[in-house]
Symmetry: C2
Subunit: 335 residues, 2 copies
DNA sequence: CCCACACAGTCAAACGATTTCACGGGGGTG
DNA sequence: CACCCCCGTGAAATCGTTTGACTGTGTGGG
């Protein structure tokens, strides 16, 4: 592969001149004819600047890291897509990694990214310990948190999970439900906790007493949603509605309801959270909270690029709006 | 951030000696005491070899590119996960990119990866023109194709789509179906075409005549599956079973069937392809062809790493086994 | 006549590692 | 005693760019 020197030799000029021409240096005074000669040499040799050499010289790689716990969780593909699109447009490559919510794996990955001298990091990992945040701050590497808030940084992109939970449950109450259960996410996550608080807030505002038996903790996956729902549906009196902390859990509820011979929404109303594509694949389609997943990804990349290039971000943190999408899975209770 | 020189200065040795110690050079003869002194210096300074400088010197980046058409298609997350896991274990970073099946975008992305001097490429893009393959071969960059076969390279990881289609349809025939329709994938894709051929093969083997009215071409997405199914279900006589070219299309069939008041599997049997997670979220759960998605990703990364490091691969191409998974969406036809 | 300045580039030193070759001193061999 | 080898390390080239400082003409003004 041709280098700057090769091009210079062919064009009969100094490598530095080629560099300036290729990079469009404004201060360079050069005869149009020489310019053309250089450009032609670039063309014939198929010259492509070596990004590695450039990175070494410039002390920046135009590369960012993107860590997610598990790309197979349908929450993340959209986020990744948005982030990659913005990064790509801004001229950055995205190095991608799965952490499986394993702090050791996360740490290892960050270390290799540090060695690769990447310019910044997007962390979409729910479980990230503040240890990681501290470590990152120490290293002086710009980073942005997605769907997670923590002390120690203002650079994060979130939605108002409490408000979303409150709105979801208020919708059920408005339909006439009183016995509303909640399948919570892991309570060590910010999102799981806030949605539970939203649930409690809505109940309180409607003057409905909170029963801890109506809350089961799940892990944001379908299987645990199914398990949790089975337990809830055996309760007496049985809840007439369930607010699931995410759509995957809600899908588990559908399965449990079908097995128990309960029809949605006639016998049981269900609300989810996130509005993943699968929410509309269900029958009936799932009432849920729409989260602008793609926009979360885009915002986080925008924020990070700004942080890298200007050293500070204009608007941060970013709090995005969610919206209740009413579909077929919610209806007034029978009775 | 500390450099080799800093460490050398602190330990009172030459940078080259530090390099040898850090890289565990076998030929190096060194006093244990000096070794320890160097290691201690590395520790105190928090020295981390600069991968950029190393890449420049070594002419390899330990980075591979991974191109998919659309990460939001549930086929890909598992593949990506598998590939990333293997790459990571082998000490490679994965640069990820969405092409949206846009050849221009794909080309741009490859060009930036070429500039970044990545060591190899995994292409999971269905639409890839042979132009791209040619270009890549010209550049001498090792690459592996996933879920796609083409002339001009032996390095690909696939499943036998024809056989899978044949098996899916044979299952329906065995249940007693005769009026079997097919919602095909895009016929410019290898996978779409092969599954259609499998469908035709199974019909032929059973002595059932092929009706082109029973085949609709879709684009592997839920919406077009829905549209296609609506058309098929208006046919007279109506098909009693549909083989969908992928699970997303099958999900569209569920929606169309529900709207038409048809029950699955009583009034209509459905078979999909891929066994994405959503296949089990449906009610009834979808009978489908299980594709080892994760293993496809793993194999492709293994193949690529071997190609990069040894210059050739031991077993290539890789053809993985698929398996019919019978669930609740198929049953004998009523009548 | 001399200085300043525009022009058209060139020179050389980084950036941070790796690796080949060389070297000085000590010990063993003939 | 001369020679050689081995040990432990050092010097220097190299990878491909970028960039601040510089050079050597020619032209114009005072």
């Amino acid at each position: 592969m041709a280098t700057l020197r090769d091009v210079a030799r062919l064009a009969g000029v100094d490598p530095s001149t080629v560099s300036r021409v290729v990079n469009g240096d404004q201060d360079l005074v050069i005869k149009e004819e020489t310019r053309q000669r250089i450009l032609k040499a670039v063309e014939t040799l198929g010259y492509r600047p070596n990004a590695i050499a450039r990175s070494l010289r410039l002390q920046r790689t135009r590369t960012i890291g993107l860590l997610v716990p598990d790309i197979c969780n349908p929450f993340f593909p959209e986020v990744i897509r948005g982030a990659e699109a913005v990064a790509s447009e801004a001229g950055y490559h995205v190095i991608f990694g799965n952490t499986d919510d394993d702090p050791a794996k996360e740490r290892r990955f960050i270390d290799t990214l540090l060695a690769a001298r990447c310019d910044g990091l997007i962390l979409a990992t729910a479980m990230t310990r503040d240890q990681t945040i501290e470590y990152l701050s120490e290293q002086g590497l710009p980073f942005v948190l997605v769907n997670r808030y923590t002390l120690g940084t203002d650079h994060y992109v979130v939605t108002d999970n409490l408000q979303a939970g409150r709105e979801a449950v208020a919708h059920l109450i408005e339909l006439g439900h009183r016995r509303i259960a909640h399948l919570a996410g892991p309570l060590f996550t910010d999102t799981g906790l806030s949605r539970l608080q939203g649930y409690r807030t809505a109940l309180r505002e409607a003057g409905i007493t909170f029963h801890s038996a109506y809350v089961e903790e799940c892990d944001f996956k379908e299987a645990s949603g199914y398990e949790g729902a089975r337990r809830l549906l055996q309760l007496d009196p049985r809840p007439t509605a369930i607010f699931a902390a995410n759509d995957l859990i809600a899908i588990g509820v559908y399965r449990a309801a079908a097995e128990a011979g309960l029809r949605i929404p006639d016998d049981l109303s269900v609300v989810g959270h996130n509005d993943i594509p699968a929410a509309t694949y269900l029958h009936p389609q799932l009432t849920t909270i729409r989260v602008p997943l793609n926009e979360m990804g885009r915002s986080s990349a925008r924020l990070l690029v700004e942080l890298i290039e200007r050293g500070e971000a204009t608007e941060t943190p970013v709090v995005l709006k969610t919206e209740l999408v009413v579909r077929g899975s919610t209806a007034p209770p029978r009775e």
